[in-house]
């Protein structure tokens, strides 16, 4: 997978109305692998915290005896974070406003997540 293809995927994700930014992150180290975001969005911070969230969700699933999570959806008062697992250890994530089309966003992330390896 080339960097150009990653950027194309990220541009398509950020093209969804209400999406403030999208990134590919490494869940192992919480670092940004590729990104496309508005200036105000600190993708490095998002990657670090999303990786922690994914890690905690994984431990929670293990404690419950279920399979590792393949998607994490965090909704807050003013927005949401949606992250979908790609090939280990990559995750495709997006930060969106509260009124964004979250269903469409999640489907799009799911379609693309497998293609980021």
């Amino acid at each position: 997978m080339s960097g150009d293809r990653w950027q194309q995927i990220l541009r398509e994700v950020t093209g969804v109305p209400g999406v403030r930014g999208a990134l590919i992150l490494s869940a192992d180290d919480g670092l940004v692998v590729a990104e496309s975001a508005m200036d105000a969005l600190d993708t490095a911070d998002v990657a670090a915290l999303a990786a922690m969230l994914v890690s905690r969700a994984g431990r929670c699933a293990a404690a419950m005896g279920t399979a590792a999570p393949t998607a994490v959806h965090l909704t807050a008062r003013h927005g949401a974070l949606v992250a979908v697992a790609g090939p280990e250890p990559l995750w495709l994530a997006a930060v969106a406003d509260h009124d964004a089309e979250l269903g469409r966003l999640r489907l799009l992330l799911g379609d693309f997540a497998g293609a980021i390896g």
């Binding site: 192992d28 180290d29 919480g30 670092l31 490095a44 911070d45 670090a48 990786a51 922690m52 890690s55």
Partner: protein, 155 residues
């Protein structure tokens, strides 16, 4: 946690809690240890401080050779089970160095994120500088003993 300067304690405690770091060592660029968490032997602290300062000095020289303006922000060594984050940062008391080790419950990104906040909080918490006391030869041993007691406890 043991600290020589009490105003370092709260920012360091928050950093350790938020980042889930295992061990932390804060020192001046001259190698004087300001605070430590996770070490149990003074010998380990002195060794880690010397090695950490040496690594930063080495990377600083590398930065100069390859023409990078200023030093690298941080040096990370990532192992299978543990990682080491080593960074210099500016404080109102001069340039300090932090050495942090973290396990799989944390990540480079998380340490980077909360380390930046730690440096900001430390700068905000730093009291105005007081006149530097001159350490006389006859008082040096007592000063050193006091510092070691503060950092490791005991009598």
């Amino acid at each position: 946690m043991r600290v020589l300067e009490p105003w370092v304690a709260d920012p360091l405690a928050e950093f350790l809690r938020e980042s889930s770091a295992r061990v932390a060592l804060v020192m001046t660029s001259a190698g004087q240890v300001i605070a430590q968490h996770g070490f149990t032997r003074s010998l380990d602290v002195m060794s880690a401080a010397a090695l950490g300062a040496g690594i930063l000095a080495t990377t600083g020289e590398l930065a100069r050779i390859i023409g990078t303006a200023g030093n690298f922000g941080a040096v990370v060594h990532q192992g299978e089970q543990q990682g080491v984050w080593l960074a210099g940062f500016d404080t109102p008391r001069g340039r300090w160095i932090a050495l942090v080790t973290f396990g799989r419950e944390s990540s480079v990104g998380l340490v980077r994120l909360f380390f930046a906040r730690f440096a900001e909080q430390l700068a905000a918490a730093t009291p105005p500088a007081t006149a530097v006391r001159e350490v006389l030869a006859e008082g040096f041993e007592r000063e050193l003993d006091d510092s070691l007691r503060a950092l490791f406890g005991g009598s």
